[in-house]
């Protein structure tokens, strides 16, 4: 996969409803939001992304889901 810095808007458009693994991510501390990063993995399964974490030794790594929370799920944490 070619290393290319992309914005979150680009990534959400290219990989809808997927879990992404970004390295060297960019963070907006004012709004507490991820604004971009270099995509290294993507999957429909969050657990698949978790399994890939150990492969990366980068200093900054971000797990990002491009979808919206399920409308039919309520949370009891």
């Amino acid at each position: 996969m070619k290393a290319e810095l992309k914005t979150i808007e680009q990534l959400e458009q290219e990989y809808p409803n997927e879990c992404l693994l970004l390295v060297d991510y960019q963070f907006d501390p004012i709004n507490s939001q991820i604004i971009g990063g270099i995509l290294v993995e993507h999957s429909k399964s969050r657990n698949e992304i978790y399994k890939k974490l150990a492969l990366y030794d980068n200093d900054r790594l971000c797990i990002y889901y491009t979808g919206k929370p399920y409308e039919d799920i309520r949370y009891l944490l």
């Binding site: 991510y25 399994k51 974490l53 150990a54 900054r60 971000c62 944490l77």
Partner: protein
């Protein structure tokens, strides 16, 4: 110092970005966590703990926790620091626990982080204010 973090007041949870630092403080993983004043502890996934150099399996501390799925025992580790809501807290205990995949959440920001601050959830403005306690 007071920070202001925007959030969506209409969703069923309050998702926020949480960053966890590695054992030596040089690596950072960014996760999506639910702000949960009803959770005693902050949670992170097992695989994130491993990647950051922690070994929850070897932790001698286990915490009995009640979840939606029943009672489980989760290892407790002390991480170098957790960052959230524009704040950074060092040497904080976190539980290693994987939330169900369908939750689309990686973790929980719980009371053991939140109680370090005065937290004001301003639902009318969609802003979380956090002020560090003296």
């Amino acid at each position: 110092m007071t920070t202001q973090t925007p959030f969506n007041p209409t969703t069923y949870i309050i998702p926020i970005r949480m960053e966890v630092e590695s054992v030596n403080g040089l690596k950072i993983d960014s996760l999506l966590a639910a702000l949960d004043t009803g959770a005693s502890y902050t949670f992170i996934p097992w695989d994130v703990a491993f990647r950051l150099g922690y070994d929850p399996a070897r932790s001698s501390r286990r915490q009995r926790i009640a979840t939606g799925g029943g009672i489980v025992y989760a290892p407790v580790i002390t991480v170098h620091a957790v960052r959230a809501l524009g704040m950074r807290e060092e040497n904080i205990d976190v539980l290693c626990h994987d939330l169900p995949e369908e939750s689309n959440l990686d973790g929980v920001l719980g009371l053991n982080f939140l109680r370090k601050f005065d937290i004001n959830l301003r639902f009318s403005k969609g802003i979380i204010e956090a002020t560090r306690l003296a």
